[in-house]
Symmetry: C2
Subunit: 139 residues, 2 copies
DNA sequence: CAGCATCCCCATCGATACTG
DNA sequence: CAGTATCGATGGGGATGCTG
């Protein structure tokens, strides 16, 4: 989680605006872009959000669904997502305790822009792989 | 893997497919999501792409524009972006050598989905910060 | 079942110095 | 100017074990 530079921007909505504003990193406050991207770029967060798309899931169910994530990382990632308000955590004090995680409205809304990005990734992955092969061949 | 019920949203169908795809962790390179996200999540890549949006830039100009990036990281990040085919590298063998970097068509196309994501970040940053404050207060 | 706690590896990144 | 080379700090994240 890297923090620094790239101050907050007032009424920017386009990348162009951000490119322009970036020349002045006087405000040390957290940049929304970095803030979100650092989270999205983390290894498991996205997989967890995706795993929660169909509906609420319990801890173990999540672990199975995500795949080879360790309990440690699952716990840690869930905490961060909960802290950011993207998922909710409901504890049922049953005999063996049960905890259910679910997407919040904010979490669901995050999946739309993420879907755009992953769709791009899906559509252009071949091109990227080809570019890499060409680059490596030239070396 | 089994398809994930309902999801009238087309983009979400794709995401669900990606989730299923991850079921095979033996070849992580085969997952477009991780492939792209790892790059996007890196510290400087996005800043560099944004810095190149207005047009081609030379090494030093990029370094000034991005901010406090070291030459080491700038070089490294540029190499990866070039390898992925997102930017091009043009060398002018002048007296003091000049090298110009520019977005490729692929690189430009990547900025669209990224803009969607950063726009979301911009719009929802306040909510996230509020959620964090609430979470921290509860602890 | 859900989750902390602990140990440890290694990838990422920063700083500095050197070069064609 | 545009890098390369090297060292070192930081922390993400895997493996394992323990608990309410």
């Amino acid at each position: 989680m890297t923090r620094e530079q790239s101050g907050n921007h007032p009424a920017r909505e386009t990348l162009a605006g951000m490119a322009a504003l970036h020349g002045a990193p006087e405000n040390p406050a957290a940049c929304p872009i970095r803030d979100v991207l650092d989270r999205v770029g983390q290894k498991w967060t996205l997989l967890i959000l995706i795993a929660l798309m169909p509906g609420p899931r319990r801890f173990s169910a999540l672990q199975r669904r995500v795949g080879d994530i360790s309990k440690r990382m699952l716990t840690q990632s869930l905490r961060e997502l909960e802290r950011d308000g993207l998922i909710s955590r409901q504890v049922y004090p049953t005999k063996p305790p049960a905890v259910e995680y679910a997407l919040t409205a904010l979490g669901r809304s995050a999946l739309d822009p993420i879907a755009v990005l992953t769709d791009w990734a899906d559509r252009n992955h071949d091109r990227i792989r080809a570019a890499r092969a060409a680059f490596d061949a030239a070396a």
